[in-house]
C-alpha cells in the first residue's frame, strides 16, 4: 500500500504526461484521414489503421532524402567532433603546458554560447565562405556546439584514468604519441561512447542552423524539411507530419536505448567541474 502511493501512482502520472505525446504521434501516423477529422470517432483509438501516411511520406515527398541528409550530417559531424574533442581533451587532461587553465575556461564558455545568438553573424561568415545551401557545410558548423560539450565530457573522463599506467609505459621508453594511442585511447572507450551518443542525438536535434543555412529542398534535414515542406496549414498533413516525426525520432531513440547507461553516466558526468 505504501509503495503504491510512494511509487506506482506518481509513476503512472508521470508516465501518462511524459509518454502521451509519443502515443499520439504513433496513433496519428496510422490513423486514416477520415478518422482524423471525424467529430464522432473516439480520438484515443484507431478503428482502421493504415500505412497511407507513411507511403505518402516515402514516395510523394523528399522525406527519404532529408532522412539521409540528416544521417550523413549527424554521422560526419559526430566523427569530426569526437576526434577533435578527444585530441583537445588529451592535451587538457593528460599533458602539462602553460595556458591550459585558460583553454579549459574557453571551452567551458564556448559550451554556454547557444547557437541561438550566433546564427545571424554566422550567416555572414557562411556567405563569405560560399558555404550557403551546401549540405556538408553543416558538418563543421555543428561541430562548434558539439566540440565544447564533448571536450568537457572527455576531460572529466580522462582525469579518472590513473596516471600510473602512463608512467609505467614511459619508463619502458614509449613515446607520448604511442601512450596516447595505445593506452589512453582504448581506456577512454566508455567516455567516447557517451560522447558519440550526445553528438549524434544533438546533431539530429539541431534545427536553427539547418533552417537558416539550407534553402533547397534537396539539402534539408528532417526537422527543417517537415517544418517547411509539409506544414501548409492543411489539416490533411497531420498524418504524414506525425509519421515523419516518428520515423525521424527512431535513429535517435535506437542509439539512446542501446547505450542508455552511457547516456545517463555522460549527462551526470558533464555536471561536474
Amino acid at each position: 500500500m505504501r509503495r503504491l502511493l510512494s511509487i506506482w501512482l506518481p509513476l503512472l502520472a508521470f508516465a501518462l504526461f511524459l509518454l502521451f505525446p509519443f502515443y499520439w504521434m504513433v496513433l496519428t501516423s496510422i490513423k486514416p484521414n477520415a478518422e482524423l477529422v471525424s467529430v464522432t470517432a473516439n480520438p484515443f483509438w484507431v478503428a482502421h489503421p493504415t500505412l497511407d501516411h507513411v507511403k505518402y511520406l516515402l514516395y510523394s515527398t523528399s522525406y527519404p532524402r532529408w532522412f539521409w541528409n540528416t544521417m550523413a550530417v549527424a554521422s560526419a559531424a559526430t566523427a569530426l567532433s569526437i576526434s577533435v574533442s578527444f585530441s583537445a581533451a588529451v592535451a587538457l587532461a593528460r599533458l602539462r603546458f602553460r595556458g591550459s587553465e585558460g583553454v579549459s575556461l574557453g571551452i567551458y564558455l564556448a559550451y554556454l554560447i547557444p547557437p541561438a545568438i550566433l546564427f545571424i553573424p554566422l550567416a555572414e561568415v557562411m556567405l563569405k565562405l560560399g558555404w550557403f545551401d551546401r549540405l556538408w557545410s553543416l558538418v563543421p558548423v555543428y561541430s562548434t556546439f558539439l566540440i565544447p560539450f564533448c571536450t568537457w565530457l572527455l576531460v572529466g573522463y580522462l582525469k579518472s584514468i590513473p596516471r600510473e599506467l602512463e608512467e609505467a609505459a614511459m619508463v619502458d621508453g614509449a613515446s607520448r604519441v604511442r601512450i596516447i594511442l595505445e593506452i589512453i585511447l582504448p581506456l577512454s572507450a566508455p567516455g567516447l561512447i557517451s560522447a558519440f551518443i550526445f553528438c549524434f542525438t544533438l546533431s539530429w536535434n539541431e534545427y536553427l542552423y539547418a533552417l537558416v543555412f539550407m534553402s533547397s529542398p534537396a539539402h534539408k534535414t528532417v526537422p527543417v524539411g517537415l517544418a517547411t515542406e509539409l506544414v501548409r496549414g492543411d489539416i490533411y498533413q497531420w498524418g504524414p507530419l506525425m509519421a515523419g516525426a516518428l520515423l525521424g525520432s527512431l535513429p535517435v531513440a535506437v542509439v539512446y536505448f542501446f547505450f542508455v547507461e552511457h547516456y545517463v553516466a555522460g549527462m551526470s558526468g558533464a555536471l561536474k567541474g
Binding site: 509503495r3 510512494s6 506518481p10 509513476l11 508521470f14 508516465a15 504526461f17 511524459l18 509519443f22 499520439w24 480520438p43 576526434s83 577533435v84 585530441s87 592535451a91 599533458l95 575556461l105 571551452i107 567551458y108 554556454l112 554560447i113 547557444p114 541561438a116 545568438i117 550566433l118 545571424i120 553573424p121 554566422l122 561568415v125 563543421p140 558548423v141 561541430s143 613515446s175 607520448r176 604519441v177 542525438t201 536535434n205 534545427y207 536553427l208 537558416v212 528532417v222 526537422p223 517537415l226 517544418a227 497531420w238 507530419l241 506525425m242 516525426a245 516518428l246 525520432s249 535517435v252 531513440a253 539512446y256 542508455v260 545517463v264 549527462m267 551526470s268 555536471l271 561536474k272 567541474g273
Partner: protein
C-alpha cells in the same frame, strides 16, 4: 635522432592537439560572436553591409512594444518553466531512486522527451493543441465541462501557458538525470539515523536530502535557465511567436526580424540583449561548479 622538435617534451604536442579545436571554434564560434556584437551596432540588412549607427538599434528596441513584451515573456517563460522542471524533475528522481521492479525500464523510457528531437516532439504538441481536433477539447466537451472547443494557441495567455507545458514536458528529464546522480551520493546512514530519531520523511527530505542537493540544484537551475531563455525550436514550431507576437522569446524575435524580415543589425541587437544575462549565468555556473565538493 632529431631531438629539436620533439613531441615527447615541450609545448609542441599539446599545441598540435589543440589546433583543430581552436580553428573550428575560433572561426565558426568566436569570430561570429564578435561579428554579432559589431552587427548589433549597424543598420545592416540582407544584401547590405550597412553603417555603424551606434546604439540606435538598442534605443529603438527598448521603445518597441513588441520587444518589451518579448523581454517580459522571456523572463516569465524562463522563471515559470524552470521552477516546474526543477520540482517535477526532482520528484521523478525521488521516485526512480527507489528500487522497484522494472525501474531501469521506467528510467530509460521516461527520459525520452529529452532525447527525441525537439522540433519533432513539438509537432506532436502542436497537433495536441489543435483548435479543432484537440483531444483535450474533445474530452472536456464529452464530460460536459465546456460547450465549445478550446483555441489553445489563439489567445495570448492560453498560448503562453501551452508553450510552458510543452517546455516543462521536454525539460523534466534533464533535472531527473542530474538529481538521480546526486541522490547516489546522499549517504543512506544519515536517512537511517534521522528515521531512528523519529523524523518524518517530509522533514528528512527538507533537512537532509534537499540541503545536500543544494549545490547541484544551483548548477542544474543555471544550465536549465540558459537553455530555456535561448529557446527557439519549441516556440517557432508551435506558435511562431504568435498570436500577435505574444509568445516571442528573444531568439524567435531575432530570427523573425533578421531572416524573414531581413533586418540583420536589429536581429543581432536582440541577440545582443541576451549577452549580459548569459555572462552572468555563465559566471554563476562556473562559481557553483568550483564550489562543488
Amino acid at each position: 635522432m632529431m631531438r629539436g622538435l620533439s613531441l615527447d617534451r615541450g609545448p609542441l604536442l599539446p599545441t598540435l592537439l589543440l589546433v583543430p579545436a581552436a580553428v573550428l571554434l575560433g572561426g565558426l564560434l568566436a569570430l561570429p560572436l564578435v561579428l554579432g556584437v559589431l552587427l548589433g551596432f549597424k543598420d545592416a540588412t540582407i544584401g547590405e553591409a550597412g553603417n555603424f549607427i551606434g546604439l540606435d538599434n538598442y534605443r529603438y528596441l527598448i521603445t518597441d512594444p513588441v520587444f518589451r513584451i518579448t523581454a517580459l515573456n522571456t523572463a516569465l517563460y524562463t522563471l515559470v518553466t524552470v521552477v516546474f522542471k526543477l520540482a517535477l524533475g526532482l520528484a521523478l528522481a525521488l521516485i526512480l531512486n527507489q528500487r522497484f521492479a522494472g525501474y531501469r525500464f521506467w528510467r530509460s523510457v521516461l527520459l525520452l522527451p529529452y532525447v527525441v528531437p525537439t522540433v519533432l516532439s513539438a509537432f506532436a504538441w502542436w497537433w495536441i493543441l489543435d483548435p479543432q481536433f484537440s483531444f483535450i477539447s474533445w474530452a472536456l466537451l464529452k464530460l460536459g465541462i465546456l460547450d465549445q472547443h478550446v483555441n489553445f494557441l489563439g489567445s495570448a495567455w492560453l498560448a503562453r501557458a501551452s508553450l510552458m507545458v510543452a517546455n516543462v514536458w521536454r525539460g523534466i528529464p534533464f533535472f531527473t538525470v542530474g538529481y538521480l546522480a546526486g541522490l547516489q551520493s546522499v549517504p543512506k546512514e544519515l536517512h537511517e539515523a534521522a528515521a531512528i530519531d523519529g523524523a518524518s520523511s517530509w522533514r528528512i527530505f527538507w533537512e537532509i536530502t534537499w540541503l545536500l542537493l543544494l549545490p547541484l540544484t544551483t548548477i542544474l537551475t543555471i544550465f536549465s535557465a540558459i537553455f530555456t531563455f535561448t529557446d527557439f525550436q519549441l516556440i517557432w514550431t508551435i506558435t511562431r511567436g504568435g498570436p500577435a507576437n505574444a509568445t516571442h522569446l528573444f531568439v524567435t524575435l531575432a530570427y523573425q526580424r533578421a531572416i524573414p524580415g531581413g533586418a540583420l543589425g536589429e536581429g543581432a541587437a536582440i541577440a545582443g540583449f541576451t549577452l549580459p544575462f548569459l555572462a552572468l549565468l555563465a559566471w554563476a555556473a562556473l562559481d557553483a561548479l568550483r564550489r562543488q565538493p
